[in-house]
């Protein structure tokens, strides 16, 4: 009988080996020859309507299919001409005039006009649309009132088509980062006849983004979209700068499982992965000519403190908790040196802004502060609960910090994990004492982090309210004459914030990718911004082993 089993095994293995013969060349080899980039995109896109979607996987695909008035240079993150050839800013900073490229066309050949923008921004701001990123256009005069239904007439909103190729924009206050917002998909122009052909303009459910219907204006156009399998785009022959586009196409894969994504990269099914499993970092880092790319990212990992409730209503307790943490050690051990220890909410080097370092790791000072607050050596400590959303990495970090607090201050912290939506609800209701939080910047400006903690900030979630802080952010900073002066005001505000410590910053995020050596023109940057127009594939680069 043993022969039977052996025979069976032999047959199975032969079948497998035969199947293996059909495997042929890998995606990467084929892609390098044909100019097709195989891109691990993290998840299936929710959709492709730029005024509806909110996530990173969607924004990556939309950036290939559409183009804003401006685009970012992937090396410097400064704005470059997109649909707008150039733009003028008035001396008072309140009026911006965009001059559209007369060559800019839709993928069906129609010319792009300033009127396209007026209509599209009406759609993006329309309350019925439910656009979660509509606030990107709030710097426009009266835009917020229109979006919240306070005014009905869109002609009062500060956007006007002066002529076919000139778009004039009026702002509430000088907004230096407004030009940057023009490369965010919520501000993109959409093709009106296409959208109206498939239903009401403000309806979220119409099929206008399907392969057979969609009209876009970017360097690529949609070729194929198979749900949860792959989405392919091909080079557009109507794009104004098509001669500079080097890729012939991109295939986006919904690589939700990061372990699977890493395996796909290993067998050369992918050129690029969205991320990398934490435990694989040391392995890849040790390689020669490592495909591992790690760069600072515009996001901060921190703990929210509910300062309305004891014991965290005492600023000394909050400071003691923060100072007791050894962020360097956390990063070197649990995080495999993949991140950057943080001592502020704004990531260092946000377009030239360097945040203050108000405190440092100092166990002695932390103990003293805690004793002053009435808990010498942890005596009488009422206990504290840390809430985080269920995830292995959040757990590892929480356990490490829990131990640091125990060792340094002799206090007990209990850990509670909650499923994602339950956790969001707890944070929203401020039903927690201490909670994990992360914030990723929408645009490169300290304002995007500091305005979180305004008294009425929708994402404040700490109970922190300091009128002087609000004044600095809302009134003084927008009036600043120069970038240096503006940053000095932000610096002052952030110092106030960190002295009162409504949050405990833990680390600054980094982006982590595996990138095949054949991929060129994909530099690391603070926003993890990918400009597909710059990318090309070098066939001569040897394969990763």
């Amino acid at each position: 009988m043993r022969f039977g089993v052996l025979k069976f095994l032999c047959i199975v293995l032969t079948c497998l080996a035969l199947l293996a013969c059909g495997r042929g060349e890998s995606n990467v080899v084929q892609g390098n020859r044909d100019g097709i980039l195989h891109f691990g995109n993290g998840a299936e896109p929710q959709g492709l309507d730029p005024h509806v979607v909110t996530g990173i996987p969607e924004s990556l695909i939309i950036n290939a299919l559409f183009e804003g008035l401006t685009v970012k240079n992937p090396h410097t993150l400064e704005s470059e001409p997109g649909v707008a050839q150039r733009w003028d800013i008035s001396d008072d900073g309140l009026t911006i005039t965009f001059h559209l490229n007369p060559q800019a066309k839709w993928s069906n050949g129609d010319l792009m006009t300033a009127e396209d923008y007026v209509w599209s921004w009406w759609r993006a701001l329309n309350p019925a649309m439910g656009n979660q990123y509509g606030y990107m256009l709030y710097p426009l005069k009266n835009a917020e009132d229109f979006a919240t239904g306070k005014i009905q007439d869109f002609s009062d909103v500060g956007v006007k088509a002066v002529d076919e190729h000139t778009l004039q924009v009026k702002l509430n206050t000088p907004t230096p980062y407004f030009i940057q917002l023009m490369d965010h998909h919520s501000t993109f122009a959409l093709h009106r006849p296409t959208i109206e052909k498939h239903g009401k303009a403000t309806d979220r459910f119409t099929p206008w983004t399907r392969v057979e219907n969609i009209v876009s204006n970017g360097a690529f156009r949609l070729k194929d979209w198979q749900l949860n399998r792959r989405l392919s785009v091909e080079k557009s022959d109507t794009y104004w700068d098509r001669d500079r586009v080097k890729l012939n196409g991109i295939v986006f894969y919904p690589t939700e499982n990061i372990a699977s994504e890493e395996r796909m990269f290993r067998v050369e099914q992918l050129h690029y992965t969205q991320t990398i499993p934490l435990e694989k970092i040391p392995v890849y880092r040790a390689m020669e000519d490592s495909p591992y790319a790690n760069a600072p990212y515009l996001g901060t990992y921190y703990y929210l403190l509910n300062i309305n409730e004891p014991p965290l209503d005492d600023v000394r307790v909050r400071q003691a908790l923060s100072m007791a943490l050894d962020r360097e050690r956390l990063n070197n051990t649990v995080l495999h040196k993949s991140n950057v220890p943080a001592y502020s909410i704004t990531p260092p080097g946000t377009l030239g802004y360097w945040p203050p370092k108000v405190f440092d790791h100092n166990i002695e000072a932390a103990r003293k502060l805690l004793a002053e607050a009435g808990y010498p050596d942890g005596k009488g400590w009422p206990g504290l609960e840390l809430t985080y959303n269920t995830s292995e990495s959040h757990l590892k970090i929480a356990v490490a910090l829990q131990q640091m607090w125990k060792d340094a201050l002799n206090i007990d912290i209990t850990l509670t994990n909650q499923e994602w939506k339950v956790y969001l609800d707890s944070v929203d209701q401020m039903d927690f004492q201490m909670a994990r939080r992360g914030w990723i910047g929408d645009y490169v400006d300290p304002n995007n982090f500091l305005d979180l903690f305004l008294c009425d900030g929708g994402n404040n979630s700490t109970g922190f309210c300091d009128p002087d802080y609000d004044k600095l952010i809302q009134h003084q900073a927008p009036q600043a004459k120069s970038r240096a002066e503006r940053y000095a005001i932000f610096h002052q505000a952030e110092t106030r914030l960190m002295e009162q410590m409504p949050i405990i910053p833990i680390y600054t995020y980094t982006s982590n990718h595996l990138i095949h050596p054949s991929v060129q023109g994909l530099p690391p940057n603070l926003m993890d911004y990918v400009n597909f127009r710059y990318i090309w594939l070098d066939k001569n680069q040897e394969v990763v082993e």
């Binding site: 069976f8 293996a20 059909g22 495997r23 309350p127 983004t209 067998v267």
Partner: protein
């Protein structure tokens, strides 16, 4: 026979109604909603979104409206994927999951029945212990462990088979089918061993031997049909289990099936998608249980006569 089928189908209606009602209200009790995200949503925007999905109505109005749509076969729009209906998502994912489940079931049957029968022929010898120990390992080894091991060996080290995908390259269905089928193969092995052992000691087997039939004919012509009854009874629930339990395998192998949508829908509070897939899977489970009952009746002469008498 027809009365039996008819009454079982009628019984299914209240079952499904209970499933719909319980699911509908249960998911609403869960904290958090489909539009909660890490970034606070402007109240006006949230109100507009809720209006587009009828969430501004009272819960009972939503319930009756949902039942109304359902009676036309309309499962509503997805919350997570605006622009796609739940019907469309199920239509895209289900054929893939069904195909995967079918292959997995074939793998499970072939391996399970062979191992079980071999073991039952010489009980308490090496021929029994070895397949049964392997079966025990199969039951204990979760697919989230087996899958990556198979991928590492056959996909990465040997480079024989693709590590992910579905229908993209030849052979990419082999590893998922084996991974998903393994645990069921183990169950089937144990079931068929037990079933066969019982049958092999019956009088009619002795009769068959007595009339001089070779052993392989005794097994294949007389014993198998009786011995496989527990296996067949298990097939319906097993197939339903494979359909609804393929999530892990679909995730490991990046397979665009229904399981991934279903589980993500729960995390996303995609109310219509949760309801739609639950109703759909519940219907399937009812149907498969019915089918396996019919099949079992057909294989068991005593039950068959009983039904005929009705």
């Amino acid at each position: 026979m027809w009365r039996f089928i008819g009454s079982r189908l009628l019984q299914a209606i209240p079952v499904l109604l209970v499933v719909i009602t319980v699911t509908f209200f249960l998911i609403r009790v869960a904290p958090g909603g489909p539009f909660d995200s890490e970034k606070a949503v402007v109240p006006e925007v949230k109100a507009a979104l809720e209006a587009q999905y009828r969430l501004n109505l009272t819960l009972f109005q939503q319930y009756t409206a949902y039942l109304g749509d359902l009676s036309h076969g309309d499962l509503g729009p997805s919350f997570k994927y605006p622009g796609r209906s739940v019907n469309e998502l199920i239509a895209a994912g289900f054929p893939v999951t069904a195909e995967l489940a079918l292959y997995a079931l074939l793998v499970a049957l072939v391996i399970g029945v062979i191992a079980g029968v071999l073991a039952s022929l010489k009980p308490n010898t090496a021929q029994d212990y070895i397949p049964m120990s392997v079966a025990m390992i199969g039951i204990c080894m979760p697919s989230l462990l087996l899958g990556p091991i198979l991928i590492l060996v056959f996909g990465v080290y040997l480079d024989w088979l693709p590590v992910s995908g579905w229908g993209d390259s030849p052979g990419d269905k082999v590893l998922p089918a084996i991974t998903l089928g393994a645990a069921y193969a183990a169950y089937i092995a144990r079931l068929s061993r037990a079933g066969m052992l019982e049958v092999m000691s019956q009088d009619y087997i002795r009769t068959a031997r007595a009339k001089g039939l070779p052993e392989w004919q005794v097994v294949s012509r007389h014993a198998l049909r009786g011995g496989m009854i527990p296996v067949v009874a298990f097939l319906g629930p097993a197939f339903a289990g494979l359909l609804s339990g393929s999530f892990v395998v679909e995730t490991i192998f990046q397979i665009p099936g229904l399981g991934r949508f279903y589980v993500q829908a729960a995390f996303n509070r995609d109310y219509t998608m949760i309801l739609g897939s639950t109703v759909f899977l519940a219907t399937l489970i009812v149907v498969f249980n019915l089918l396996s009952d019919i099949l079992a009746a057909w294989m068991n002469p005593r039950l068959r006569n009983q039904l005929r008498a009705q």
